[in-house]
Symmetry: C2
Subunit: 380 residues, 2 copies
């Protein structure tokens, strides 16, 4: 890797990829990089005081792989480090602020680069060449199949985004859904769209925290919310599930995860997703063990998420003029860094995507084999 300084001086770091380079535009940026690289690389890249040569993704891959081989960067399960860059922990009010920071910056922005259904979680590519729209439909079907949805069942969804999965489940599988989310913008969008599609009788979107879920349901589902719950609160979510899942119910949690407990980078926590943390499978067991839930099935869709983020980044770049009008150049560079970082982290195995299916221990109506996963899709 080459480092090019403001005065044109070039340093080649040994052992790294010489095809990529970092241009540092001023002395202060270099100092900040030395003091706290995990925070200031992002900030100075966004401000244009750092430029990357040879492509952002190849550069990040070089850096992440070399960090993975450096023990002091490798793992930091220290809870203080985890909290240091988290202005709001995931209490009821903290969660609201954290979610507002990312999801309430404007539906029009997300519409520029998400699929038509506005699914902001990992897609599922039955074939590598599938489109993003198809991959999101396939993902929602995969989730519904894993849950073996049957018409007339009741479903509770914790963290429903813009409501796509709830619409999919209600429209294609004939179930009734109560979907919770604390993002005001997302809930507004979800309600309008359900109404437009004639699904308002089957779906109730509720602007509230997962901790306030009430009622009993045949199915519990949560896609892409656990990342925002925080490991300190898994026991609470587990208790909510225990309270709301019917005796012969079944549940699915879909979440970004990792192989060993490492906090997200301070830049990511400050600028992109405050309060976020991708759990290890070990940490996820805190959800299930106290109520003795049985884990039935775990699937790792890591490479599907790399591909999903590649689609998002390509669409985002395609619409960058419109994004610039909505925000500014710094915002564009921040989101480019965020999406590129995700692609790389999923590609090098620093992040995982776990889909976990579970039930109560005494539920003997669970599927015996996986044949239900490839059964024909029920069309309404």
């Amino acid at each position: 890797m080459r480092v090019i300084l403001w005065d044109g001086k070039e340093i080649t770091l040994p052992g790294a990829n010489p095809a990529v380079g970092m241009v540092i535009r001023d002395r202060a940026a270099l100092w900040r990089l030395l003091i706290n690289p995990l925070l200031y690389f992002g900030d100075d890249y966004c401000a244009g005081r750092i430029e990357i040569e040879g492509g952002l993704a190849p550069f990040l891959e070089t850096v992440y792989l070399s960090m993975a081989q450096t023990p002091k960067f490798r793992r930091n399960p220290d809870p203080i480090a985890y909290r240091r860059n988290q202005p709001h922990l995931n209490s009821l009010s903290g969660s609201r602020r954290n979610i507002h920071h990312h999801y309430d910056i404007g539906n029009a922005f997300y519409q520029l680069w998400l699929d038509k259904e506005m699914v902001y979680t990992c897609g599922y590519f039955p074939e590598a060449a599938a489109s993003l729209e198809d991959a999101q439909i396939a993902k929602m079907d995969l989730v519904c199949r894993k849950l073996r949805l049957r018409a007339g069942q009741t479903v509770v969804e914790a963290g429903c985004g813009w409501g796509a999965l709830a619409r999919h489940m209600a429209g294609r599988y004939g179930v009734k859904v109560r979907a919770y989310n604390i993002s005001h913008e997302q809930i507004s969008y979800a309600r309008e769209r359900a109404k437009a599609e004639g699904l308002e009788g089957q779906i109730e979107y509720i602007e509230d925290d997962y901790r306030n879920i009430t009622g009993t349901y045949d199915v519990f589902v949560s896609v892409g919310m656990l990342e925002h719950v925080g490991p300190d609160h898994y026991w609470e979510l587990g208790r909510v599930i225990d309270r709301c899942l019917a005796k012969d119910g079944i549940g699915l949690i879909h979440t970004i995860g990792q192989n060993s407990a490492t906090p997200m980078s301070p830049w990511f926590l400050k600028r992109i997703f405050p309060g976020s943390y991708p759990p290890t499978l070990r940490e996820m067991m805190t959800l299930f063990e106290p109520s003795e839930f049985t884990v039935l099935d775990v699937e790792n869709l890591r490479l599907h998420y790399a591909k999903t983020c590649e689609h998002w980044l390509a669409r985002f770049e395609h619409h960058q003029d419109q994004v610039r009008e909505m925000f500014d150049e710094c915002f564009i560079r921040a989101w480019r860094l965020y999406l590129s970082g995700c692609i790389v982290n999923f590609n090098i195995g620093a992040l995982q995507l776990f889909q976990v299916v579970f039930s109560r221990p005494t539920n003997n109506l669970v599927p015996l084999t996986r044949s239900h996963l490839t059964a024909p899709i029920v069309e309404s």
Copy 2:
């Protein structure tokens, strides 16, 4: 539940199933039951000082379910309790003694009630009515498919039983297998049978401990051995896997498990499987996390194991006259209790069966979907 004493006095315990009862033949047996029920119920049942009315399995189900609702019986993650009834821990020599206790009591005995291939682990029933022979073949194929075996690959197997999986992989998938086991009887049988089937050029059966595995392999597989490793030694097994798995290798561990960390009953540990312990998924992560292995797939085959044990018990009962000639009535009653207990524990969800597939974090050649699991079986 009814309790009938030696003098004919009958006590009905409130709230339990009145269709089942326990006859206690003498005062000493009653005392022992009160002092240490988890140990002495088994011993006194085997000695005929306790008889069961209404069927052993329904009786055990009643007892286990009521224990599951009694907090003090429910969980005991205390490591001292775990060790109390383990005469030999799972050191190199302790493991040898523990394995010898169960697996070296005579191949002729196991041949009476296992399937033709001598598979002493959970089968896989694609249809509920499948025979035991078919279920064991289907299980071995499921394992081979999850590992995506290709002709010419090298496989290391940790704990190979009587060698069926190694024969299946070598014969049907054209791979080379080194299979480790510390049971002398099993290894002798496995070698003879591989020779008889013309597979001795492809399989090397090695009478040695998993900790002494050498070499590098495309595939690591272990079916039904982790139960004998003990949670204190998972890190060692993890290190062995890290040492022996090729860069783009893939691995599978198939093990009995449980939802929360609970030691096996003292009777089971003393009389049936010394040194055994079925891990929770959380505990299994000790195998994977230190080397940052990625968990790709977990399947829970709990109900398949209940069905497998039902087949075993039926065959065992069918051959009880031959078993009595080999051993004695006490042995028959002990194995009846062991197999019935397994059926019930799998049926009520007190035991699980986890199949976990994993790879190194940077292996991007892992399957993207599960379509390889239903691909046609390669026949040699």
